[in-house]
């Protein structure tokens, strides 16, 4: 930990800063990231600040103030940071202090001091206060002053927003070592686990938050990540599901008492708070209750809802979540068959039904990492904070200059393979099966090694290195039930057989498109294996080594870089 540099020692944590909630995490000496609970015991700390008689409330305590003291409570401000007033959507802040224009930035008018007139506080200042509280909670927990952090941001956060966040953090005496992208942080949280194996895979990271949802398709190649496509939905999140619960109970209440609690501001605020808690309970149990004292007109209200009912009512919204994921896969020019992993992040990802719907959309080999589908899944709410904490532990001892140089576009903009490179073991009679070795979207330079079993009898083997493309083969089952069906068939059975018929079998087929080089390995022992090593340089030149495992020598060859794009202009 100790550095010889005279400058003050850094002590860094990971912060996930969300519109609805924030988390702080720390990586211990054992290399395991832990999410830190604040003094109230919350690990998901609501991103809310509230002022009552000049006293500042934060997190859950501030959230409770949304009922009585909504005017002096600031919530959902993350996305306002670094933005022009005209470009923001003030809808999420309807139930709290309203955002307003203040010069070129967004501000809130709140009574945060003893002064008679309320003060105008900019969103940067609010962010600073929020980060200061997070920092304090981490410092209290760890017993050491936190002075640096890695903070997660959405992939489409603009430069102005990034700068504003770094500046706000600086005012809270936090040195931002790096801003990292939320989906990548989630991926890193999984890959940082000691038992994780680095492999090439295509991952969809779905971050379902409170008031927005973001999906990213990421190519993970040799532990390096490249984002292939992102989609964002600013009107989809857990709040939509809260609304389902709120509407359900409100209708029940109207039936009984003939008043709509949603029309009363305080009644609505109470329903929102309790409705969210009920929704969360439905992610854990199959039944949940809601009880509110004096909901409206002094009437107490209590009722229950079961999960089946809730899932039925939320069906449409669930399909919006899954639709968002499908659109991201499409945007990356991929098919669901190409996806190896789906990581569900964000609080809404606790919903069991969403994970189950995704399992039915993706093929069986695709892992859906959510608590309800994978027992070893990490808590979706903690993913980005953990990823940030891990990254913080990796870079906290670097010089600031080192970090800046490393994350500079000179380093991060890199040529990626456009086609998959694979190996065909060719025999005299058949063309040979294509086995991918270096996947498309691999950042260069790259190196891969693989072993291939040769035919039992051994002998001379021809290895062909070739570019390949995956195709999706669709097999339609024979339409035999059609003929048998008569018009008198009952509707039910008719429907069922229709479904079966349309179930096509789709599978991935690899096709070799462009042979690059051939090499012969002679006199391989019976039952032996051949090892192929490929080295690809940034200029697309490559070196290939093929040798028998345990054997001597082998064949070495070099393929020169293509002349046309030698400077990586493509």
């Amino acid at each position: 930990m100790s550095e010889e540099t005279g400058a003050g020692e850094r002590f860094a944590i990971g912060i996930s800063f969300g519109n609805s909630s924030s988390s702080i995490a720390f990586t211990g000496p054992d290399g395991k990231a832990e999410v830190i609970a604040n003094e109230e015991g919350d690990r998901q700390i609501p991103t809310i600040l509230s002022y009552v008689e000049s006293e500042e409330f934060h997190g859950t305590q501030a959230k409770a103030q949304l009922i009585r003291n909504s005017k002096n409570t600031v919530a959902y401000f993350r996305d306002y940071l670094g933005k022009d007033f005209k470009s923001i959507d003030p809808t999420p802040a309807h139930q709290s202090a309203h955002p307003q224009q203040s010069d070129s930035t967004v501000a809130f008018t709140i009574q945060d001091t003893d002064a008679e007139t309320p003060s105008t506080v900019t969103v940067s200042e609010i962010t600073t206060r929020h980060l200061r509280r997070l920092k304090q909670s981490a410092t209290d927990f760890l017993g050491k002053t936190v002075n640096a952090a890695v903070i997660t941001v959405p992939t489409n956060f603009s430069d102005a927003q990034r700068e504003a966040l770094v500046a706000a953090a600086k005012n809270a005496d936090i040195e931002v070592l790096q801003l990292i992208h939320e989906p990548v942080a989630a991926l890193l949280a999984y890959d940082a686990r000691p038992d994780a194996v680095v492999e090439d895979k295509l991952v969809v990271v779905a971050d379902f938050g409170g008031i927005r949802s973001d999906v990213a398709v990421v190519a993970s190649r040799g532990g390096m990540y490249s984002v292939l496509a992102t989609v964002h939905d600013y009107e989809l999140g857990g709040a939509n599901l809260d609304q389902v619960v709120i509407d359900h109970f409100a209708k029940e209440f109207i039936k009984k008492h003939k008043v709509d609690p949603r029309e009363d501001a305080r009644g609505l605020a109470k329903l929102k708070l309790e409705g969210e808690a009920t929704k969360k309970a439905l992610s854990i149990g199959t039944n949940a209750t809601l009880s509110i004292e004096s909901l409206v007109n002094g009437i107490d209200y209590g009722s229950t809802i079961n999960r089946t009912r809730y899932e039925l009512l939320s069906g449409k919204i669930f399909s919006q979540f899954t639709g968002l994921i499908e659109s991201a896969v499409k945007k990356a020019d991929l098919d669901v068959l190409d996806i190896d992993e789906v990581i569900l992040a964000g609080g809404t990802s606790h919903t069991p039904k969403i994970a189950r719907l995704l399992e039915s959309i993706f093929p069986e080999k695709t892992k859906v990492l959510a608590p309800s589908t994978t027992p070893s899944a990490i808590n979706p709410s903690e993913l980005s904070a953990r990823g940030a904490a891990y990254q913080a532990s990796l870079i906290q001892e670097f010089d600031t200059e080192d970090i800046e140089q490393s994350i500079h576009p000179m380093v991060t903009v890199t040529p990626h393979l456009s086609k998959t490179i694979g190996v065909q073991l060719v025999s005299a009679d058949e063309s040979g099966e294509f086995v991918p070795l270096v996947n498309a979207e691999t950042a260069l330079p790259a190196r891969r090694v693989a072993q291939y079993t040769v035919p039992k009898e051994g002998g001379d083997v021809l290895i062909r290195i070739t570019e390949g493309e995956r195709e999706i083969k669709v097999t339609k089952p024979e339409p035999k039930p059609k003929a048998e069906k008569t018009e008198e068939d009952e509707e039910d059975s008719d429907f069922d057989s229709d479904e079966d018929e349309e179930e096509e079998i789709r599978e991935v087929i690899w096709k070799s498109t462009k042979p690059i080089a051939e090499a012969a390995v002679k006199g391989v022992k019976a039952g032996g294996k051949v090892e192929v090593t490929i080295n690809i340089n940034s200029d697309l030149g490559l070196q290939i080594t093929a040798r028998e495992v345990g054997g001597k020598g082998g064949v070495r060859l070099a393929v020169e870089a293509p002349a046309a794009s030698a400077n990586g202009s493509a």
Binding site: Q178, I180, L417, A520, K522, E560
Partner: protein, 53 residues
């Protein structure tokens, strides 16, 4: 897979063509593998040079 009869090449290999052009993309600057990559880039080292250090 056996060597087809009549296949021959100097030193047992032949080059048929070169790779298709690459796509420029941004790698996400996170994780230990990226940091290793950044180190190699900045010092202009290759994989094997990096391993020796």
């Amino acid at each position: 897979p056996a060597l087809p009869a009549g296949w021959s090449a100097e030193k047992d290999f032949k080059v048929l063509s070169s790779l298709s052009s690459a796509v420029q993309r941004n790698i996400e600057p996170v994780g230990p593998h990226f940091l290793a990559h950044a180190r190699r880039q900045r010092h202009n080292r290759t994989f094997s040079e990096d391993e020796r250090i």
